[in-house]
């Protein structure tokens, strides 16, 4: 799925990386705790999170995640936008909650996600 399509599905406002919307993603990770993201190993990931701080972007950067969506209408501060631009990330905000945002992407065919056995 192209990031452009995600922007449309989530009715999102793009704050950084607007020139890279042709990028393809294959899987999605929705999490507010960063170690849950770190436990998720996939390629071409879009991260959906309610956590709006530098740690969210740092986590994404360390995992080579190029697309970050802030849910529930959280608008990124200028320093976060600058940080995203510096690491060549696409940063956007959707008005939808985590559940609705993930549901919309899933319904549209983005199915890649982490499955782990119950230990």
């Amino acid at each position: 799925m192209k990031v452009r399509e995600i922007v449309g599905l989530l009715d999102a406002k793009v704050f950084a990386g607007a020139d890279q919307l042709d990028l393809e993603v294959q899987s999605a990770c929705g999490a507010d705790l960063m170690s849950d993201v770190m436990a998720f190993v996939k390629e071409r990931v879009v991260l959906l999170t309610g956590l709006m701080n530098p740690q969210a972007l740092r986590t994404a950067d360390l995992l080579d995640i190029k697309v970050v969506v802030f849910v529930r209408g959280k608008k990124p501060t200028p320093d976060l936008v600058a940080m995203a631009e510096e690491s060549g990330m696409i940063l956007m905000t959707t008005k939808y909650s985590m559940f609705l945002a993930c549901g919309r992407l899933y319904e549209a065919g983005l199915r890649g996600g982490g499955v782990r056995e119950i230990s």
Partner: protein
């Protein structure tokens, strides 16, 4: 080659900088992308643990032809039950720390999964040291 970083306590804006720097260095050395990611993740988890639980400390990264060793040391409260701390989901993080995005109780398990070898030594009241080894190239047997 050896890199040393000092990791301040509870400084959420600085925390992660050492890992980001190490990742850049590793990428410049031309190491395999997946290996770089594994090292970056493990180091970041360790760095955050020092900042959040360990009261600050140091990280040392040593590069050898066949491996990379990371040594994380703090003089914090220590870990009473290491096996319990290594369990997925176990965390003593405060609500405040959770609101910063940490406290899933996945840090130590993530480190163990990403490193080829890992040892944790800790004494209550004295501190904790974590050693991680990453084997390069053919040396790693998955």
């Amino acid at each position: 080659m050896k890199l040393t970083y000092s990791i301040p306590s509870m400084d959420f804006s600085a925390a992660g900088k050492a890992s980001t720097d190490v990742k850049k260095t590793l990428a410049q050395l031309g190491l395999d992308r997946d290996l770089v990611k594994r090292i970056a993740v493990a180091m970041y988890e360790g760095e955050m643990n020092i900042a959040i639980h360990g009261g600050g400390g140091t990280a040392e990264i040593e590069f050898s032809p066949d491996r990379i060793d990371i040594l994380l040391v703090d003089r914090g409260p220590g870990i009473a039950d290491i096996a319990l701390a290594m369990t997925e989901g176990f965390s003593t993080a405060s609500e405040e720390v959770r609101s910063m995005g940490f406290g899933a109780g996945m840090g130590l398990p993530n480190m163990k999964r990403n490193a080829d070898e890992m040892t944790v030594e800790s004494r209550v009241g004295e501190g904790t040291s974590v050693r991680m080894r990453f084997l390069l190239g053919a040396a790693r047997c998955a």
